[in-house]
């Protein structure tokens, strides 16, 4: 399958600080591709370069087979963007936001009006078409931003943390819409630090930190590759827990007030723990968050 995005040894510097250090990746057409990393890992900068909004300091970047620095306009004509921070036009209503934005793509009025109605339907805002932006909830604004990103019927949709700050209902609705877009054959590129979101949506993902690629693969493959399949989250006296689990072949990690016990089979451990009072634990399958924390470390980022 053809790649929609190809980055090769991409470099970006801000003054003396190198925020993207030789990043290479390829995004196949029709995939939902996740770009994961802690705050400051270089995710947003990478997206900005991809849209021609930030000049490259090294390497090459092709979108739809076109070098971005010469073809930014063409690339953006075929791309939809959901930015991290809402930048809807507060002076306009919901429908006007879409109409004005659609004109930036030189869409003929007939096409624009038809698509506008369909998109309002798609994101569940038909009955709010004449509302001012200030009266919308955070979830509605996000949905409108997604509708706006689709106004040019893009082949590639770039979403920078699409569900940050939303309640679970709004998040699930957005996930459902993104899956529909994926089914409709669109290529999706999203950044997130919700591992659950990445696990649910992404066919393939990369984890980056300090502008470098740490890992790449499907969510399931990454979990298999990096962590044991079963996890116990334990709270209680650390020495007691360590003593109780001594001799078992699992791996213990300490994060804040919680101990994580990673094992191929956690049953011997749970058998011992159930006999002990004063220790609460949760038994769950390993997930992407375990991989993420293992690869990017457990230090706090800002």
């Amino acid at each position: 399958m053809q790649n929609v995005v190809e980055m090769n040894a991409l470099v970006k510097k801000f003054d003396e600080r190198t925020v993207v250090q030789g990043l290479s990746l390829a995004i196949p057409a029709g995939a939902c591709f996740g770009l994961l990393g802690p705050n400051g890992a270089g995710k947003t900068t990478t997206l900005r370069m991809l849209l021609g909004q930030s000049p490259l300091d090294g390497g090459s970047l092709h979108v739809f087979g076109l070098p971005i620095h010469e073809h930014a306009r063409t690339v953006r004509r075929r791309t939809g963007v959901v930015p991290q921070m809402d930048n809807l036009d507060p002076d306009f209503t919901v429908a006007e936001n879409l109409r004005v934005y659609g004109r930036y793509f030189d869409l003929p009025t007939v096409v624009l009006e038809k698509r506008l109605r369909e998109l309002l339907e798609f994101v569940g805002l038909s009955d709010r078409a004449d509302s001012r932006i200030g009266t919308l909830s955070g979830g509605m604004k996000r949905r409108l931003t997604i509708a706006r990103a689709l106004i040019n019927d893009p082949e590639l949709i770039v979403l920078d943390e699409p569900t940050t700050g939303l309640d679970p209902q709004a998040r699930h609705m957005i996930w459902a819409r993104l899956r529909e877009l994926r089914t409709a054959g669109k290529t999706l590129l999203l950044t997130t630090h919700f591992m659950e979101e990445a696990e649910r949506l992404c066919d393939e993902l990369v984890i980056i930190d300090e502008g470098k690629l740490l890992e790449q693969g499907t969510p399931a493959a990454l979990i298999r590759r990096h962590v044991e399949p079963e996890v116990l989250e334990l709270r209680g006296q650390e020495e007691n827990i360590r003593a109780m689990l001594a001799g078992l072949d699992g791996r213990l990690e300490n994060v804040g007030d919680t101990l994580y016990y990673y094992a191929r089979d956690a049953r011997p451990a749970t058998a011992r723990l159930e006999k002990q009072l004063g220790t609460s634990f949760m038994h769950r399958p390993a997930n992407l968050e375990d991989v993420f924390l293992k690869l990017t470390g457990r230090d706090l980022r800002d």
Binding site: L51, P90, F92, Y104
Partner: protein
């Protein structure tokens, strides 16, 4: 320089966006921008005009109205290019949204310039109508006031955009208003002939654009012969063009990092 030439179709969509917002708020906007010049014409035109009489080889109201037409165009375009453009560029993030569409910085700025000049024309037309009703307009050539006001708007918008490109907040614009806009308003022949100033000050005034704007408009309103039109037009075009290119360069460096 090829990167700074706009794509006009995109620029027009930016213009259209702004005009749509303006139509929303057109009542208060017209009232504010038109009220002050009207007050000057009424108060100074009649009040001061009583003492000045016909010593300027035209009625003082005509003299003043043509000056006010120029200075109002300057004010409206300058303020739009500073406060409103800054609002769209920084707190409101409108440009971030537009730059995700197939539109570039130079298109946005060209659209902004056209819009600032359009706003000058809208208000200028209203002032011109009132000035004619007050009997201050003496020549059919006054219709050419409209295109000249458009150019005056481009000139001052282009210059103000350079300030906006560097501004880190609204307070920054106070310097520009205090150091350039207000002195031009007071010194550039809006209220009295520039020839009554000391020579050195006349030279300073001739370097700045407002005196040239006044020199273009006054003959058109009063019916007196127009002289040095080429020079005056060239000064206005130069300020507009140089301002646009510098602003495009600075704003590209500011936004595309």
């Amino acid at each position: 320089m090829h990167a700074t030439l706009p794509r006009w179709r995109s620029a027009l969509q930016v213009w259209r966006r702004n005009s749509l917002v303006w139509r929303r708020l057109m009542g208060p906007s017209l009232f504010i921008n038109f009220g002050e010049p009207f007050l000057y014409m009424l108060g100074l035109g009649y009040g001061l005009g009583f003492f000045i009489g016909n010593s300027m080889d035209m009625p003082y109201l005509t003299f003043l109205a043509s000056g006010i037409l120029a200075s109002a165009a300057m004010n409206i375009a300058s303020f739009e290019a500073m406060y409103s453009v800054y609002t769209r560029m920084v707190p409101q993030r409108t440009y971030d949204a537009i730059l995700a569409a197939p539109i570039e910085i130079q298109d946005i700025l060209a659209g902004e310039l056209l819009w600032c000049a359009t706003k000058s024309v809208i208000n200028g037309t209203a002032i011109l109508i009132v000035a004619s009703l007050l009997g201050a307009v003496h020549d059919w050539r006054a219709v050419f006031v409209i295109p000249v006001i458009f150019l005056i708007g481009l000139c001052f918008a282009g210059t103000a955009l350079v300030m906006t490109a560097k501004a880190q907040g609204y307070d920054f614009f106070n310097y520009y208003v205090t150091l350039l806009i207000t002195p031009m308003f007071v010194l550039s022949g809006v209220f009295y002939p520039v020839s009554s100033l000391p020579h050195w000050l006349q030279t300073v005034v001739q370097i700045l654009p407002l005196a040239h704007a006044v020199d273009l408009l006054r003959p058109l309103v009063s019916g007196r012969p127009l002289s040095n039109a080429g020079l005056h037009l060239a000064v206005l075009v130069t300020y507009a063009t140089v301002g646009y290119f510098i602003a495009a360069h600075l704003i590209r460096k500011r936004l595309l990092v």
